[in-house]
Each structure stands twice: as structure tokens, then as C-alpha cells.
Amino acid sequence: MSRQDGVTTHTLRLELTDEPGELRAALEPIAENGGNLLSVFHERGNLTPGGRIPVEVAIDCPAGRFDDVIEGLREEGVTVVAADEEYYGEAFRVLLTGHLVDTDLSATLREIESASTVSVEELSLSAPDGVEAVSSAYLRLGARSGERGAALARVREIADAKGLTVVEPLEAGS
């Protein structure tokens, strides 16, 4: 997702060898290329069939520098399994209703994304009675595989704080 200041958020899936210092080495090229680390996710005990450690990172970086980050990682010998793809394994939809505009919808979306396990992939807004009345937003969100519940809880929390109503999806398989 691209923002006004030209900074974009990206996700990377890396595989590291199980050696001390490996993670730090892997993250250096990110900063060197202007990236700002948002989160590192590693499921403890989870190994690839080849015995390597899968790690997922989310970063902010200036538009256009993302390819440099990937190149930098590969030069450092880090295996980049996926970049900005398949990472947000579970797309799901939520409805937000209430005084969306008065409560600064952009800020609300930024807050949702700052949870870093969630990305806003699509947004439709309907304010038939004007921006000062109650309006509705339909969001398609992406969450890391298996983290939909946590992502929804975060959306609920943000909405509660702003007095917005969340209409959640039912669990998968409905």
C-alpha cells in the first residue's frame, strides 16, 4: 500500500540458517537501503523441510527502493522466499460503520495497518447522507496465515476506541 509521503509497506519471507548472528546479518541490508523494520515474525520451532528457519518481516521503505532491499539481502546470502506475495495469506472483509469521516478514516486505516499483521487491500466508502453523517466502509483486509483472529481483534479495538461499529465476517467455512 502506498502512502502520501511516498513510503510503502512491504513484506518479505526469508529463510535463515540456524546460526548465531544470522538474523542480525539478514536485517542489515534493509536499513542500508533505506528500509525501516516494522516487525519480525518467527514461529518458534517451525523449520523448513531443509532445516532452515522461516522468518517473515514487514518493512517500510521509500517508493522504488524495495528492489534494492531485496538485492541487498540476496547479496548478503539471505534466501528471499517471497516478497510481497502470498504473505497475507488470508483475505477477509469487515464493515465499519459510524462517523468514519469525522473520526479521520485515513488515521483509522493507518492504525489498522500499523498492527503490521494486517494490510488494507481494498476499500469502498459509502456516505450517502454526507460526510458528517453516519457512513459505511467495506474493507478487504489481508492477514498473515492463521492470524485472522488476532487481526480482527485489533480492528475491533481500534473501532471501539473511535465509537465505530464493526460488522465482522463469520469464521472461515461459513
Binding site: R93, L95, P128, V134, S135, S136, Y138, E168, L170, S174
Partner: protein, 318 residues
């Protein structure tokens, strides 16, 4: 069986009127003012008297509770908190080793462990199919599978809220407009608060959760333990945005051994849960047999009375 009926509203009256067809005798009916007794009772005369004078008769309630009946049908309005007078009526019958069939949700939603304890100490049995999903055999289905082999039950358990949501989505009409229309049609009561704020669906969810928890040795829940949201604040724009993506909104109650949640949820527009109008649907998730969907009329006098009379038919002979 000889039936004594407490509560002479739509459900109590339908039970009294249909009892004969099921092979039962009515020996008493009570409304909020008085009671009528007889062996058997002339049901038509009692309700004629009610329409003329406002009450079915001038006998005392205690005389009805102490009368010679096999089954007490408790069909007084559902009350929250202490669930009175329904709770005490039911316990009075159980204490006399009589069967109790509830149409009143209060005793099993708010004081489940207590009423179950009273039933354990009694030679009488307690049944409450009519409290969940009206004519839909929700409790019976859970019992048939064995509550310990049912992992979750969810569904649309309030016809008024479902009518409002399906009309709003279909016609693009506002919540207030559709609710007023529902009241005109008699689909919504004069005070529809408990229907639209999720309370009624939550009570039904709590009752099911209590059945699931009892089978797992867990303490019963009450309404206060449920997480409840209603549909009152939903703008029609929300429904149209969801519709653009092939989805709609339904007030869904979810009950599991872990608890109860009720709130508006996004569901596929043509999916199983998106029943329309006043229809209800109950989905039962079983451990070994997948999912069952049961839909039908969740309210109404004869519909709910048929669930009461099915319960009566399952009681052990006295």
C-alpha cells in the same frame, strides 16, 4: 397427559388449543390475573371469558400450581435476572415430582444450574425445546448427537431482526422505516428492543451453550456472560456495500462450550445463513458428522406450541 398451562399469551393459548389434537387434556390455564381449572378444562370457554373480561378465570395461581396435572407448561413472558415468576412456577411443579416444559427462556438462560438441580431432585423431567428457534428442533438435535459431540451451534435466532436486515438489504430502506413496517405487520412487537439489540438471540445462545457446557462438566452461563451487539446502528449503506461484494449482514448468535457471541456478521448473500424474512436457521457443528442446517419458523403461537407439545410427547409416562 394432563397439562396445566401458565401463561395465556400467543404460545400458551396455542398449546391449550392444540393439546387435544396431540391426545392430551388441559386441566388448567393461568394468565397474569387469574386461573381457570377443570378436568378437563373447557379451553374455548376459558379464552372466550378472557376476551370478554380480560382474564381466563378467577381461581388462584397457587391452586393451578397445586392442581392434579402431569406436566406444567411454563409460557409466561421471559424475564431477565431472577427469571421470575417462571423460575418459581417451574420449581413448584418439579418439587411435586411433576414434569415441566418451558417456552419461557428465563429459567434456562439465567438460572440453568439451579433449575437443573431442581429437576435432578425431582421424579419429574424438564424440557425446553421451545426456548430455542421456535419450531426448529435445535435442542433435540443437540441431545440426539450428544451435547459432548457438538462443538458449536450458530445461526439466525431472531426473526424480527432478520426481517429488518433482509428488507433493508433488498429494498434499500432505512432501519427506522423497516422497523415501523415490521410493527405494522405484527412481525415486531410494540417494544422490539430485545429483538434488535441482540438480547433475545443471546438468551437462546446461552441456553444452547449451557447444554454444551453441562455435558462437559462446566458451570452454566447467563446473559451477563454473553458478548452481545445489536443491529440498531446499522446504516443501509453498510448493507449496500456488502451487497456489492456478494455479501449481506445477518444477526448471528454463536454458542460454544467457551461462550456466546451475538452480533451483526457478514455472510455470503446466497449462503446457508442468509435466510430471509422471519425465518430462523440453526447450524449444528458435530464432532463426527459435520454440519447440520435446520431452518424454519422461529416464533409464532402455533409454531412454538408445536415444539412444546413435541416435548410433552417425549416425557416419560407418569
Amino acid at each position: 397427559m394432563k397439562l396445566a398451562i401458565v401463561g395465556a399469551g400467543a404460545v400458551g393459548r396455542s398449546v391449550a388449543e392444540l393439546a387435544g389434537e396431540y391426545g392430551h387434556d388441559v386441566v388448567g390455564v393461568a394468565d397474569s390475573t387469574g386461573a381457570a381449572l377443570g378436568d378437563p378444562l373447557d379451553v374455548a370457554a376459558a379464552f372466550e371469558r378472557k376476551s370478554e373480561t380480560g382474564t381466563v378465570g378467577d381461581e388462584r395461581h397457587d391452586d393451578l400450581l397445586g392442581a392434579d396435572y402431569d406436566v406444567l407448561v411454563e409460557a409466561t413472558p421471559t424475564t431477565l435476572g431472577d427469571a421470575e415468576p417462571g423460575f418459581s412456577n417451574a420449581v413448584a411443579a418439579l418439587d411435586r415430582d411433576r414434569h415441566v416444559v418451558l417456552a419461557n427462556k428465563g429459567p434456562v438462560a439465567e438460572r440453568y444450574d439451579e433449575i437443573r438441580a431442581a429437576a435432578r431432585d425431582s421424579a419429574g423431567e424438564l424440557r425446553f425445546e421451545a426456548t430455542v428457534g421456535g419450531a426448529i428442533p435445535a435442542v433435540r438435535t443437540v441431545e440426539d448427537f450428544g451435547p459432548s459431540r457438538v462443538e458449536r451451534v450458530r445461526g439466525v435466532l431472531n426473526g424480527t431482526a432478520n426481517f429488518v436486515l433482509s428488507r433493508m438489504a433488498a429494498e434499500g430502506l432505512s432501519y427506522d422505516h423497516v422497523l415501523a413496517e415490521a410493527q405494522e405487520l405484527g412481525v415486531a412487537e410494540a417494544d422490539p428492543t430485545f429483538d434488535v439489540d441482540g438480547t433475545d438471540a443471546a438468551l437462546k445462545g446461552v441456553i444452547v451453550a449451557n447444554v454444551l457446557r453441562e455435558a462437559r462438566g462446566e458451570e452454566a452461563l447467563s446473559l451477563a456472560d454473553a458478548e452481545v451487539a445489536g443491529i440498531e446502528k446499522l446504516p443501509v449503506s453498510a448493507l449496500s456495500l456488502a451487497g456489492d461484494d456478494g455479501r449481506t449482514v445477518r444477526l448471528i448468535a454463536e454458542a460454544s462450550p467457551d461462550g456466546v457471541r451475538v452480533g451483526p456478521r457478514l455472510v455470503p448473500q446466497n449462503g446457508t445463513l442468509a435466510v430471509t424474512g422471519t425465518q430462523n436457521i440453526v447450524q449444528v457443528e458435530t464432532a463426527h458428522a459435520g454440519r447440520l442446517n435446520l431452518s424454519g419458523h422461529g416464533a409464532g403461537g402455533p409454531e412454538t406450541a408445536s415444539a412444546v407439545l413435541s416435548d410433552v410427547g417425549r416425557l416419560s409416562p407418569r
